[in-house]
Point group: C2
Chain length 261, copies 2
């Protein structure tokens, strides 16, 4: 949580791009390079602004956007921090399954329930065609595949099939996956220095295959929701490809959580 003296070189003239965007990139660069680690605080606003040779207002605008993108977190009276992955963030930004509710779902804020996770498979493998396209890696490149079963209220609801490039996750074993204290994205961040910033998802309805049916405890052929997710880090680089199969008899897939108006 300490404040290191950062290397804040004045910005180079970057053509016609607005100054606050240049500042944003500079900050992103500092974070991506590891000069500021997740959880650490940045220097205060006047210090950064002076270091970069811009006004406080310009810096604030850049920080505003990074806060909006969950890259930074501001706390009045305390400072500005590099965002850390925790279960709260995971539930809010990346977990899109909720118990079926009354249709006045806008009304009451649902109690969010963190799922129970079991690892049901883990293997080293080579990238197939789907993986190469999703992860932008070469055919046959080493990948890690693992599968999780997620339960809510004691019921198996989600079957995750996850594939990541082995090169980014050297030393990831089933044991380390099981022993993680927090969410999987927290593990990525803490143990491998990989920060998932956002994800793209596409959903479709399919008939449950035998494997998924067994894992979720439902008859094969039952309609289930299949969500394909590509998770990205800085520079829109894909780092994880995940196919989540969701048993949507008692739960829904909710794309965006409600906000204030």
């Amino acid at each position: 949580m300490k404040t290191e003296p950062l290397n804040l070189t004045p910005l180079g003239d970057s053509g016609g791009t607005p100054l606050y965007l240049q500042v944003k990139r500079a900050l992103l660069g500092l974070i991506e390079s590891g000069a500021c680690r997740p959880g650490q605080s940045l220097p205060n606003e006047t210090t950064i602004a002076r270091g970069l040779g811009v006004s406080v207002g310009t810096l604030r605008r850049a920080v505003d956007e990074l806060v909006h993108e969950h890259v930074l977190v501001r706390r009045q009276g305390k400072g500005t921090f590099v965002a850390q992955h925790n279960s709260e963030r995971f539930m809010f930004q990346f977990f899109h399954v909720e118990p079926r509710a009354d249709p006045r779902f806008g009304e009451v804020v649902q109690q969010v329930e963190y799922p129970t996770v079991e690892c049901v498979a883990f293997e080293r493998d080579r990238a197939g065609e789907q993986d190469t396209l999703a992860l932008r890696i070469k055919q046959g490149e080493a990948v890690l595949r693992f599968e999780n079963r997620l339960s809510l209220g004691g019921r198996a609801v989600v079957h995750d099939r996850i594939v990541v490039p082995a090169s980014l996750f050297r030393g990831l074993t089933e044991k380390r996956l099981l022993d993680r204290p927090s969410t999987i994205y927290s593990l990525y961040q803490t143990e491998f220095g990989i920060t998932v910033l956002r994800a793209q998802e596409r959903a479709r309805a399919v008939a449950a295959d035998r494997t998924t049916a067994r894992i979720l405890g439902l008859p094969a052929g039952m309609p289930v929701l299949e969500v394909h997710r590509i998770a990205m880090t800085f520079g829109e680089r894909p780092v994880e490809y995940r196919i989540s199969t969701i048993h949507t008899q008692l739960h829904d897939y909710v794309s965006v959580r409600s906000r204030s108006g």
Copy 2:
């Protein structure tokens, strides 16, 4: 597109709420009340700011948020306008079906294709239990129900079952629904003064019932995606409840469209 002299009374002291939020509410009130109609321009920033007795910066912050929420649209050199529903906005904000693409969907920006719409049913009815909960109306209140078939590339892909309170849409007939020149939300806005601002959606996989199977031309029992949407106007008031059944064999449900990083 003309600039009427608006009734810009200075803000009343509203306790501890920040000034820019009070300004935001004042602007929302002006729009909701109909003093500024969709497509019309607002007075310029200095005029509004002076009218409300705030600085330009404070006004701009309020407008910033309203632009983010698609309530206002700013155009440099031209002015600030009350947002209008058109097909572009519909596709971007409310249409979540895309042809199945390579899994590098982050890569190429898909060509968006506006769907062909056919009305396959229209009736006056009374609200059932689901409708009362979703639309926050009383049991038995008059509603309009209609069903559309949406096609992409000549294939029937979506079956919409839409229900709206009849009280908000007096004079809506099947003919007017068919004759609309633009999107359905544009019709709501132009003909009935109802502006849909945002929507909440929940998705699940189900087996296609006979009606939907017939309309979409697929075997009954096939897994399809069922999306429940509540569309809201100002003050989070629900104005439309829609169940979209999507044939996801060649198309995906995409929750949020990609943005820049």
